[in-house]
Symmetry: C2
Subunit: 189 residues, 2 copies
């Protein structure tokens, strides 16, 4: 006999009880919602010549303008050889510039150009409908709340680089953090 009660598309219980310490279940939910958002974002961004990974990089650059490639790779948690390719895309379009650090000419400082800032603003305007659609289960206040919490989490992650280990290393490895070292150097200048 068909089990009707359990076959509805509407979830019957939350994945984790609200009182669960450490909030287990966030991982699956983040993955799931991010994937759905990305599918919508790809359609919205394609006419602008952007891909979601470009958007993420430009957003991070807006907040961390003028940092080194090392710190960017750490913030984005990607391999530096992949960062090079990503920045090549953005530079080719004129959205960023690599500027040689006068204090250490081995380094580039990566800055968002005016064109890049405008493109990012265009992209975010293009995404409003996509985000409204994907987040239609939330009201306006809840969307703001989600955004704020994600921003706090991202800031905590960035700050964690200043004080801890790289994301690529699983938790517990004690090696010095590249971003932390770079940040300390900048702080000392």
């Amino acid at each position: 006999m068909l089990d009707i009660a359990s076959s509805s598309l509407i979830p019957k219980t939350p994945a984790a009880s609200p009182e669960t310490p450490g909030g287990s279940g966030s991982s699956a939910l983040l993955n799931h919602m991010a994937r759905i958002m990305r599918l919508q974002a790809e359609s919205a961004l394609a006419p602008l010549g952007l891909r979601p990974r470009h958007l993420v990089a430009l957003s991070i650059l807006r907040d961390h303008d003028g940092g080194t490639q090392q710190t960017l790779a750490a913030l984005l948690s990607i391999d530096r050889t992949n960062l090079v390719g990503l920045l090549n895309d953005l530079e080719t379009e004129g959205w960023i510039e690599r500027r040689r650090d006068t204090e250490d000419r081995r380094r580039h400082l990566v800055v968002l150009t005016e064109t890049g800032s405008e493109k990012l603003a265009d992209a975010e305007a293009a995404l409003v409908n996509a985000e409204d659609h994907v987040l239609r289960g939330l009201d306006e206040a809840q969307r703001q709340q989600l955004q704020s919490l994600l921003q706090l989490a991202a800031a905590g992650h960035a700050a964690g680089h200043a004080g801890g280990c790289t994301e690529q290393e699983p938790i517990g490895h004690g090696s010095a953090c590249l971003a932390a070292q770079a940040d300390e150097e900048l702080g000392a200048c």
Copy 2:
């Protein structure tokens, strides 16, 4: 001259103002945080023989047990040929079963097995540290809040399938939703 003020890892301004209608900026933040979470999750899940996409599928199944493959594909927003491969993985491990629908023998109903429920619980226990680490910028109440908002968003997405178009189609296409059709059929039984 090195621009110290703009080179810190700590973001200087939020990506979007809290009063921005539609909360633009969620897309980049979701992508970014999901990727960071996934990197940690992969390490935590590997000893259990799970990958993040397995975790997402098992989590969705816990909430939507006994649904058809069609509705699962719609919920997960993946192509049905990819769903077959994903379910083959889960079935091989004994975490799910495909049961023939006695009312329509073309269909399988996909159910989480007891082994699968246990494996999912194990996975979530393994992820507690990863989630604590990735979300260390949030306090306990904020993590619960984030989880609740993501669950609401996921529920809204699932409900949206009951009443609207598929995720694969960009917003605005008016074709009938497969999941909506399936859910209506189930509701009528």
